[in-house]
Each structure stands twice: as structure tokens, then as C-alpha cells.
């Protein structure tokens, strides 16, 4: 197999594997940059997947080819609203943010499966008829070498993920909103004395993370799982959380980390087929992605500084 083909066969899958993680991790970045730890990402993805699948099943006939796109929009909205629970608990009620994050995870899975059983009378839905499909990007796809690797049979959602990463970067680092959001996460009292409404900023950030988590979950559901059950989202949310930290709370970093995971997974699958790796025991390939991540961190990523006020509920008039 030629080198280009090899690259293509590693990168193309890596892209669809990573996309859901990128979306969700971006959400995580927003939330944690504002000082709200969000280990509820897993639950937010579950919610997104659930909503997208249910919507898709219900409206596929009516909406036809638009269904998946509208599905992920709806998933974003619903998960965004759902995440308000986390905001209320951890911002207004000063709950331990990890606690309410955990609750989010329980609640999402519980509700998702409970309602599935309610509405479909079974533990898992049918497969959607209108999932996302890969496409070749018209012109770009024809570029030699690059084209096949990056622009042929890939999901538009994968590009969306990458684009959004840059958008998120722009928002966080170039706009007043971003500056304020980061200030709130670093030194809320300073932000407060500058007349920034700390609580409002944190609410917005958490809701964004909800929407992005929902987006991640729905894209996972509509590109990979195609149905919803208790085992649709298993750990992707936590991998996204890892990506947030791996990427040092930076949108592009998080995207890089998520791509890294996808790349490593894809690599480990490919390797099973590659001749000279054929007789490496599967177990090594199986754990390779995780070991690689640890090595990468220990090796050259090293110390990651969380936003200073991350996880600390803001209490007016105390230091």
C-alpha cells in the first residue's frame, strides 16, 4: 500500500473518530476557561446523541436530506438547556462543580434510556434512516496527495469541527466576550471589580459547553452509532475532558489532542493489518493509544496550568 494511501487510510478515519471529541472538548474549554469544571461532558454527549436520534427518527420522512443537520441543531439546543442545571448548581448554588458534573452524567443517561423505553418500548432505538454521509470536497478533493488524504470521503461535520475550533479560538482570544470570559476564569474578583457579571459569564460558558457537548454527541450518533442505547456514548465524554486538559484549555490545543486520540486509535487499527506489525500481539496495539497519550504528556506536553479560578465558585466579597 502506497504511502499516500497509508496516510489516507489513517487520517480519514481519524477525522470522523475525532470530530465528536473536538466539538465536546471545545465546549469543555469554554466552560473551564470561565472557571466551571465540567466533567458532565459525557452526560451532555449522551443527551445530544439521544435527542439527535429521536429527532432524526421522528422527522426523517418530513425533512429528508436536511434531517441530520436539523437534528444536530436541535440536539445543541436541548443539551444547551439541559446544561443549565449544571450552571444553576455550580454557579448560583455554589455546588462543588465536580459533584453537579457527576450528577449531569447520571441524569442524562438515566433520562435518555428511560425515555427511550417510554417512547419505543425497548432499550435501544432503531437505526436512523437519515445519518450523515461522507463526501468528496469538489475542487480540493482533486488536489494531488493532499486531496485524497484530507478532502475525499470525509464527513462535513469533521470539517465543521475543525472550523469551529478556530472560531472558538477567535472568540476566546480576540473578542471582548472572550477576554471577559477568560478573566472570569482567572480572577473573578478582578473581573467583578471591572463591572463584569461573573455569574452571567459563567452561565453563558456552561450553556455553550452544553450545546457543544450536545453537538459532539449528536454527530457521534449520526455518523457512527446510528442509533441510541445505554452503550452509545461510553467514555467519549471523558476522552473529551482529557482532550481539554491535554490541549491546555486552548481551543486549538484541544482540537489537536482530540485529533491525536483519533489518529492513535486509527493507527492501532491499521497496524493490525500492516504486515510487519501483524505478529505484534493485539493487546499492544489495543493499549497503544492510551500509552501514547501518557507518554506524550509526560514527554513533551508536561505541566498544564488550569485557569486559576477553575472549580472555585465565585463568592462576592471574599478572597
Amino acid at each position: 500500500m502506497g504511502f499516500v494511501d497509508l496516510l489516507q487510510s489513517i487520517i480519514t478515519p481519524a477525522l470522523f473518530f475525532s470530530a465528536p471529541l473536538i466539538f465536546t472538548a471545545l465546549g469543555g474549554v469554554f466552560s473551564e476557561r470561565s472557571g466551571v469544571v465540567n466533567i458532565g461532558l459525557e452526560g451532555l454527549m449522551v443527551m445530544g446523541a439521544f435527542v439527535a436520534i429521536v429527532f432524526n427518527l421522528t422527522f426523517a420522512d418530513a425533512l429528508g436530506a436536511f434531517t441530520p443537520w436539523i437534528s444536530i441543531l436541535v440536539a445543541m439546543v436541548v443539551s444547551g438547556i439541559f446544561s443549565i442545571i449544571h450552571a444553576v448548581a455550580s454557579v448560583s448554588f455554589r455546588a462543588d462543580q465536580v459533584v453537579s458534573g457527576v450528577a449531569i452524567n447520571f441524569l442524562a443517561l438515566g433520562l435518555g434510556v428511560f425515555l427511550t423505553k417510554q417512547w419505543y418500548g425497548k432499550g435501544q432505538t432503531d437505526m436512523v434512516t437519515e445519518p450523515f454521509y461522507t463526501t468528496d470536497i469538489p475542487l480540493l478533493g482533486d488536489i494531488p496527495v493532499i486531496g485524497p488524504i484530507f478532502f475525499q470521503n470525509t464527513y462535513l461535520t469533521s470539517y465543521l469541527a475543525i472550523v469551529l475550533a478556530f472560531v472558538a479560538w477567535y472568540i476566546l482570544y480576540k473578542t471582548p466576550f472572550g477576554l471577559r470570559l477568560r478573566a472570569v476564569g482567572e480572577h473573578p474578583m478582578a473581573a467583578d471589580t471591572n463591572g463584569i457579571n461573573v455569574y452571567k459569564m459563567r452561565y453563558i460558558a456552561v450553556i455553550i459547553s452544553g450545546a457543544m457537548g450536545g453537538l459532539g454527541g449528536s454527530v457521534f450518533a449520526l455518523t457512527i452509532a446510528l442509533n441510541f442505547s445505554h452503550s452509545t456514548i461510553v467514555g467519549q465524554g471523558f476522552m473529551s475532558l482529557a482532550a481539554v486538559i491535554f490541549g491546555k484549555w486552548h481551543p486549538l490545543g484541544a482540537m489537536g489532542a482530540a485529533l491525536f486520540f483519533g489518529f492513535a486509535q486509527s493507527l492501532s487499527v491499521i497496524s493490525a493489518g500492516v504486515p510487519f506489525l501483524k505478529d505484534v500481539p493485539q493487546i499492544y496495539l489495543l493499549i497503544a493509544p492510551y500509552v501514547l497519550t501518557i507518554l506524550a504528556l509526560a514527554g513533551f506536553i508536561g505541566r498544564a496550568e488550569a485557569p486559576k479560578a477553575n472549580g472555585v465558585p465565585y463568592i462576592k466579597g471574599s478572597r
Partner: protein, 509 residues
Amino acid sequence: MGDYVVEMLHIRKEFPGIVANDDITIQLKKGEIHALLGENGAGKSTLMNVLFGLYQPEKGEIRVNGEKVNITNPNIANDLGIGMVHQHFMLVDTFTVTQNIILGSEPTKKSGKINLKKAEKEVQELSDRYGLKVDPAAKISDISVGMQQRAEILKTLYRGAEVLIFDEPTAVLTPQEINELIEIMRSLIKEGKSIILITHKLKEIMEVCDRCTVIRKGKGITTVDVKDSNVTELASLMVGRDVSFKTDKLAAEPKEVVLKIDNLFVKDSRKVDLVKGLNLELHAGEIVGIAGVDGNGQSELIEAITGLVKSESGTIKLNNKDITNMTPRKVTESGVGHIPQDRHKYGLVLDYPIGENMVLQTYYQKPFSKGGVLNFKAIYQKATKLIKEYDVRTPSEHTKARALSGGNQQKAIISREVDRSPDLLIAAQPTRGLDVGAIEFIHRKLIEERDKGKAVLLVSFELDEIMDVSDRIAVMFDGRIVANVKPEETNEQELGLLMAGSTESAGDK
């Protein structure tokens, strides 16, 4: 009444356990610098936080230009033209000066992008106008405390503040920075601003303030015209008794060498040499004051002695025992006490009760623990004793250290370190942020230790503190001790020159 820009009338503010402000009234005339004076924990910061909208008062009213106002948050304060320079700076370390200044009211381009160029220009203009030297593009974490403070001031001016509140601005500044600040305040007044200044340094009050409101234990005492008052009067008004300033002490009788440092080299976190071949001797029964401009290696020297940072080369001997690069614990055990410069970072575990902070280095020793098991009875007995002895104002020994006024936090640390009666006591800025009563008290403690035959190393940017307390002054410049002088044989000017590195050393006579 019309000529008051700000009036706080009969303000009452309670906190769990204490009444921080009890019927306090302060009236600020337009264009005046008004001192707010009071002991640690008297309620100054609280009162100002009320004015700035961080706290809501239980009673009393606030008027701005005669209008009754209700300041429920800093936004409103800003809009009313009230700006506050907090003592613990309200700056985001990871942002640049400009970003910090514009935060909350950012100029943008049509694209919605922050217009940094424009902002930096504006900041530059402001800083030129008021002579507040800052580098608009520098990161806060990379600039000096002085510049950070100037950034804080610019922040209030950028928001068009007419009334500025300074909460102990000089406590963290070096003498030269203080002089600059005083100039700045004067020029602010020229620009028609009015200022409330919280400080414990009576000299400063005499120098720049027009009037001075004194509060004690949360109660308003009086407001005096500075020009017809004097330092002693202010002091006794504040403390409620007479305070003596010149700490009277017998001549020192130095004995054997306790601390001997030879050719010491220390790098800082950025791997640049800050201590460069330093030599120092310190005898039992003497207080040596290290005079020097901030950033000449004082901190690194102390951290090297106490084992907090690695010494590159050279030796540190304590009672002829080599303690170079020992762990902090070993150093402590071999008889070194350390009153750290940064009380919040090093001195205290703010989330531990004050009581448990009192045994921070001794918790593992008898009687505080036996066989690895803590003996809280013993711990809290000790704590109660120290709190009483050193008059640490706290609701109880079970109160979190965080809840104490900084001044009282400092007293707690000093009590802990002095009480261990180490052979060598290192005191870095021991009286920073403390009221004169407390200062007097601490100076006496240091001298007592000396008279007990201990060696005391005092590092301070306050020349008169150095002059006052030390038996010998070692001037530190560029990582070396450049001169040894006796306080009675020198004066501030000479010291100033030496500290600035002028070579014709007056020392060693």
C-alpha cells in the same frame, strides 16, 4: 455639604462574629487627599469595600456630590466615578497591562474584534498624562509590583474615576516607588481628582494628606486636619494609648558566629544569577538589617538559606554546621525561623484554622503529635496562648486563617516563628501592612530575641525600620553585600547611594 464629593454617613457593616464597621462617618472634600487610619482589623478595607460596592452596609447612607446613592456593585461605583486600588491587586496575571485596563470596556473594531492597537495607544496617553510609567504590552506576571500598581491606578482612570481609593498602596512598594506614588497622587489632585488613602505609615499621612479620619475597632473616632496634628497624636488616636517610635534598645553585644555565608550563588526561576558570590556573617545577639532595592537578590538569598531554592555554589553554615541545600525541614530543625515576605503564598495555609497554622512546622513533634497521631488539645492550647500573647484579632482559634485581616495574619505568623525561638530568625518585611502599634510590638519582639542571644536577619525596604532596629546594616546590591555600616554612623542619603550601587563605600569604618 456641597463641597463633599463622597460622604459615608453612619455606616455599619457586620460580619459573622464581628462588627467590622460600627457607625463610621467619613466625608471626602473635592481635591483633597483624605487618610483613613486605623489598626489592623479596624475596618478600613471593609469600609472602602462598602464604598466600592463589594459589600452592602447594614446601616448608613452614602452620598456622592450630595446625591444619596445606593452602590450595590462595583459597576455602579465605576459609573459614579469611584475607583479603588485594592491592596491585593485586581489584575489577571496572564493578561497584558492593556488587557487588564480595558477589561470590561474594550474598544472594538466593526468586526467585533478587540482593537488592541487603539487601546494600547489610549493607555500610553493616559500613562504619559499622569506620569504613570507602564509598558502597555507587558504581561502582568512579568512586571514589578510597582508597575502592577500603576496599572491598577490606570485602570481606575481609564474608567474616568474622579475619586480614587488606595488600600495600603505603599505597603508593597519600595521607598523609591513610594516617592513616585506620592508624586502621582499629587498630580492626580492637580487633575482635580480626590483621594482616600489607607496607610499605616503616619509619615506618609503627614506628607501628603490634608485630613485624616481615624477609626478604632470598627468605630469612627475623629477626623483631624493633618497640618494641625502630628505623628504622635495620630498614633495615640488610632491605638488608644501612647506609642513610642524610636524603639529604645541597649547596645548589642555580638557573640559567636551563628550564620556564615561564603561566596554564595543562587539562580532564580528564570535561571539567571541573582545572588552572585555573596558573603555574610551574622553573630549571636545581633540584628543585621539587609538594606537594598527590591530585586537585588534579597528574596533569593533568604530562600537559599531556608532551603526553598537550590544554591548553585558556595556554602551556608549555621553554628558551623553546613546547611547548604538542606531541605526546608532540616533547615528549620537546625534552628532557623522564617517570617516570609509573601504571607499568603508561604506563611499560611489559608484554609486551615488559625490554630492549625500555628504548628505548621512543628505538627509532627511532641507534644503536638505522638506516633504520628495529632494531639489537637495540645495544638489548640498552644494556639490560644500565642493568639493571646501576640494579640492576634480573630473570632476564634478555629477561624480559618483566610478570614483574618492581613495584619492579623502577619501577627499570627510572627508569633509562630518567634515562639520557636530559633538561633537564627529571618524576618522579611515583617511589618508590611501593619499598624504602628503592631510594628512597635514586633520590633520589640525582634530585639528581645536578640537580647536572648539569638541572631536576627532583617530584610526590609523601609529604611527607617532598618535604621531603627538593626545593630548592623548590610547593604545588598546586585547579588552581593556591598557595604557594612552601623546605623548610628550613617544616614538615609548615604544608604540610598550605596543601595544604588555607588562604589565609594562608606562602610567598614
